[in-house]
Symmetry: D2
């Protein structure tokens, strides 16, 4: 499915609709296959010991999938997460941003499903993986 | 398995080890069967429209399961979430706290598994449900 | 939501629409709160060592949730599973039937979500837990 | 991690240890990146309407991940599935075999985690996706 919102459009959408969290995330790549978002790690994302918290990684996976859907269907602010299954596999490297790569497997009439892989910036190992389902409200389709 | 940390002990642990988030959560009930935590909803937990964000509900489910494990094994700060599958089913009611009830199904040598149900304070409907697996580090067992 | 298919109606539906697997399962209880199905364990459900296989437990959880939905909306053969997250926690006891108890958390216009707990017949410990989402086709609602 | 069991070794292992299901599955590819297994679709895998059943796809995902782990650690028959989250996205094409591609994200001391994509033979669309966690018993490591 064609990309209808590019990096600039998604960034503007995030700044306009999700002011509270927009500065946490930077859209770094968008194409047919994959969308990448960076978590700009800050003190409020950390747990004792300096590692990024689970909820911060969940938020990153969630926003990456949301933007991957919007890139294809346009600025539908009301798409909502219905399910997320997330595996935390390794401690993120201290002092590094996290990068999430989202890929869609299905973009249906009602449901969208995809996978997200999270890595520390510059590292090959996967820190966390998530699969997410979004529900797309009928009025907006 | 017997409860070795009560409501007061868990509250003190949270304040000491998780200063950054301790004020978000209040342990409201602990017994053999179930542990309940309240999310003290604040502006930073909300999405546009006034509904509690997915990451805030994830954080609530995660802390409820963590405390349910600690209540049985003591203050093992290093237990880590390895998997969470969460379903978001209804919009939380605006202007209400959220309550999470955690129940353990297994507390093994290496893994602990349980379920969490999240409701708006005073409401019967389940807003979200989550199942979580924690890994318990060997040095701490 | 009221029960519109009782134990006898669900059993007849299973025999008529799912001939191939109907003899594997017995509906043992249906009420507002919970539906219970028994897996009549047979050689074809076992792995080496005599333990019930993962796919057999998945099939049991899946049919229990399916029947819990049908009990409320009637014989909608085309409802389909969209997601299942299942945790295997203990080995089932050898030579015993398995019992699955399904509870619905949501029965919406498009999606139904619920939890299933699986135990060995006569035992208190949970062998496996699953949460499932079903999609209900519009033509059938 | 290096491959220590190739296609022939995995096929022989399956035939020896999992006689009951060995003829259902054919290992079609093994390398560092990915292991592929085919479900040789037969009447017993089908639901009314001729579509492959959910439990059959679960079984396929489960065996693909199991063999991907064994390919790296050798014939450890006792590795067990602890969690599977599976999304069913499309109906498989009638009269076609299913192919499952398994990729490992982590092979740790205690847990292994990976993803499986299932497609109809010759088709590009993903029919189902699964993520699985296996526990590797200490005596066998």
């Amino acid at each position: 499915m064609a990309i209808v919102m590019d990096q600039a459009a998604l960034t503007a959408f995030l700044a306009r609709e999700f002011m509270q969290v927009a500065e946490d995330f930077t859209v770094t790549h968008v194409d047919d296959d994959m969308l990448e978002v960076r978590l700009n790690v800050d003190a409020r994302h950390l747990r004792p010991g300096g590692t990024v918290s689970g909820p911060s990684m969940f938020a990153l996976a969630d926003v990456a999938m949301y933007l991957a859907i919007l890139a294809r269907i346009g600025p539908v602010a009301l798409a909502v997460t219905t399910n997320c299954s997330i595996d935390f596999m390794r401690k993120p490297e201290a002092g590094r941003a996290l990068l999430a790569q989202a890929r869609l497997h299905k973009l249906g009439r009602v449901l969208a499903v995809g996978d997200v892989l999270i890595r520390s910036d510059g590292a090959a190992d996967v820190v966390a993986r998530a699969s997410l389902t979004y529900s797309i409200p009928p009025a907006q389709r």
